[in-house]
């Protein structure tokens, strides 16, 4: 493949309380793919994203974004955390949350101005949430909250998007809306990496997939590697790790 590498992960190992969760992950994600990370519960899917983004400290390994370490390339990366990770009763509005996406480029102390507000409103428009911009976030449905999170990432105007279960607990309309936005991002040459639960929609939504269960099982184009063999390897009960020679 002659495409540039958006993300390169080398020998990444993460342990929670010294209980290993991710082992020796080598992963190369080419630019411009829409990739799903799939695997059973506790396989370390969210952990992989969090370690890649420096939220968790890995015990070994390195991550590079377009050939440079992550902390030098922050502006190229946007993150959509799991919806359940925040307190939705927090006193703030939808627009305010989306504006948080601009905080990174603003840096310390500087406040968002008109330019940032305009960007935030555009992002809200894109996810179809403009009419709800002044709503308190607890008064939004689960799908709407997820869209707000997506809008916040869109505002970051990044090259690579990491999303942790964006389809969890959302209604069908939102799911379609979100996947359309993700496909648009890909069309614009962005790289999108999504932790995904629903195996049935993988071939329809994504063009690239990574199978993960503590170790990387396989990674590549959906049409080549999304097959029974890899699925059993990832989800099978009496599964033994196959060592790729």
């Amino acid at each position: 493949m002659d495409k540039k590498l958006a993300v390169q992960i080398d020998d990444l190992t993460v342990a929670y309380n010294y209980k290993p969760v991710l082992w020796d992950i080598d992963l190369e994600i080419p630019e411009g793919v829409l990739m799903a990370i799939v695997g059973p519960n506790g396989a370390g899917k969210s952990t992989l994203i969090k370690a890649t983004l420096g939220i968790l400290k890995p015990i070994a390994g390195s991550v590079s974004i377009y050939g440079k370490p992550y902390n030098k390339q922050r502006s190229l990366v946007a993150y959509v955390p799991q919806k359940g990770s925040v307190d939705w009763d927090f006193p703030t509005t939808a627009l305010d949350v989306v504006l948080m996406g601009t905080y990174g480029s603003l840096g310390w102390i500087k406040r968002p101005g008109l330019k940032e507000k305009k960007a935030a409103l555009e992002a809200l428009e894109k996810v179809g949430m403009l009419p709800f911009k002044d709503r308190q976030i607890s008064q939004l449905s689960g799908g709407q909250q997820q869209r707000i999170f997506l809008a916040r990432a869109l505002v970051q105007d990044a090259s690579i998007y990491f999303m942790d279960e964006p389809f969890q607990g959302v209604d069908a309309t939102t799911e379609i809306a979100i996947i359309n936005i993700l496909k648009e991002l890909r069309k614009a040459g962005k790289t999108v990496i999504v932790v995904h639960h629903d195996l049935q929609t993988v071939p329809e939504y994504f063009d690239w997939v990574t199978f993960l269960n503590v170790k990387k099982i396989a990674t590549g184009p959906v049409k080549d590697i999304f097959n029974d063999d890899n699925l059993t390897k990832t989800y099978g009960i009496n599964y033994k790790v196959s060592i790729q020679e």
Binding site: K50, L53, G54, I55, N71, R74, V77, Y79, P81, S85, V86, D87, F90, P91, T92, T93, D96, V97, M100, Y103, G104, L106, W108, I109, K110, R111, P112, Q136, R152, A172
Partner: protein, 375 residues
């Protein structure tokens, strides 16, 4: 002295003015910072910190022998911070849960402080250090320099709050996300915590270690009910805190034998109760009213839907039907029927009713909506 007298005196009487100003400023700063404590789910941290500050006061006195409140406050600050970080150490490094850690630090530090206080009182040169006032607070002992100190700290606090507003907000709402944006969450965290400790220590002389936590929580909990914006919440909490301080001082000054601290806490609690019940969006009263209204709407919709199903079977939607058939299902009363008439959905003619155009349309919309929701 009654309340009226108090308010006429407050501008002329030096002592009264000092105390009132002091409690007002204190209420404002604790209300402001309390909002952060409440939103971080660290409500009881304030209680632990205020108790943990006691041995610091005693040690500062033992070392310097000074009654000067600023010296004692530094002692309180140091031991409050030690308590705070020890709580974190216990939670992070052992399996003990956070509430056990809070309770431990609170009671152990307080007990140690009591040991020191009683020890000091038995010393010959104790010159009745007046350290007991830190237990329950004595607003009456506030002097102008204390109020100045409070005002300065509040000013600094306000300045830092405005300067790092954006950082505080994102840390409170979504810490992990703040990390990915490149913010050093640890230093923001330490900044907030230090200011909370500072505010608590500042209030010890006025309200005392036992009741200090209420000053932190009550205004914030009340303010949260009235607004859904963080800035308004912080602002309101400061106002509620300041008013609790002023009213509390006024009431306790106008009665005999009432120490200020408990009265301020009671006033703040009244703010909380009032807010819990009467706030228009979240309040219990309006919530109950909305609940009843919703149920009534539902009944109305049920009636309308039933009529729609009958009217549907006729070519002419306004074909009259007997009221009697409506009695066959639940949710129908004379009152709901009258409501439907009022809304122009239904016309009545003797014992017969018929759906209007408008009623038919509304009902069919109801149906469609339901169909969408069911999907």
């Amino acid at each position: 002295m009654d309340i009226q007298e108090y308010f006429s005196l407050v501008f002329s009487d030096y002592t009264l003015r000092t105390i009132t100003l002091g409690t007002a400023i204190l209420g404002a700063v604790t209300g402001m910072l309390g909002s952060f404590a409440v939103l971080r789910k660290q409500s009881l941290l304030g209680d632990a910190i205020s108790h943990a500050a006691l041995p610091g006061i005693a040690i500062a006195f033992l070392i310097t022998g000074a009654k000067d409140s600023n010296t004692l406050l530094i002692g309180a600050l140091v031991s409050g911070l030690i308590g705070t970080f020890w709580i974190r150490g216990i939670v992070n490094k052992t399996h003990l849960k956070s509430d056990t850690a809070l309770g431990l630090i609170l009671s152990l530090f307080f007990g140690f402080g009591m040991l020191l206080l009683t020890f000091i009182q038995k010393q010959p040169n104790a010159n009745q250090a007046g350290l007991d006032k830190y237990l329950f607070g004595q607003a009456a002992t506030l002097v102008e320099s204390d109020v100045w100190l409070m005002a300065i700290v509040t000013g600094i606090c306000l300045f830092v709050l405005l300067l790092f507003w954006k950082e505080f907000k994102i840390l409170l709402f979504d810490k992990d996300y703040a990390k990915t944006l490149g913010f050093n969450t640890k230093s923001i965290d330490i900044l907030i915590t230090s200011f909370i400790v500072l505010a608590i220590v500042l209030g010890l002389q006025t309200v005392g270690v036992v009741l200090m936590s209420a000053m932190l929580l009550a205004p914030a909990a009340a303010a949260r009910q009235w607004t859904n914006s963080l800035s308004k919440m912080v602002f309101l909490a400061a106002i509620f805190g300041a008013f609790s301080g002023v009213f509390g001082t006024a009431i306790s000054a106008s009665q005999n034998n009432l120490s200020t601290g408990p009265v301020i806490v009671i006033v703040a609690s009244v703010f909380v109760i009032f807010s819990f019940i009467f706030s228009p969006n979240r309040g219990l009263l309006f919530r109950q009213i909305r609940f009843i209204a919703n149920r009534r709407d539902l009944e109305l919709q049920k009636t309308l839907a039933f009529m729609y199903r009958i009217a549907e079977t006729h070519e002419n939607i306004s074909h009259p039907h007997a009221i009697k058939i409506l009695n066959n299902f639940q949710g129908f009363t004379r009152k709901t029927l009258q409501k439907l008439v009022d809304k122009n959905y239904v016309t009545l003619d003797g014992t017969m009713w018929s759906l209007t155009e408008k009623g038919f349309e509304t009902a069919s919309n109801l149906y469609n909506q339901q169909a969408i929701n069911d999907e």
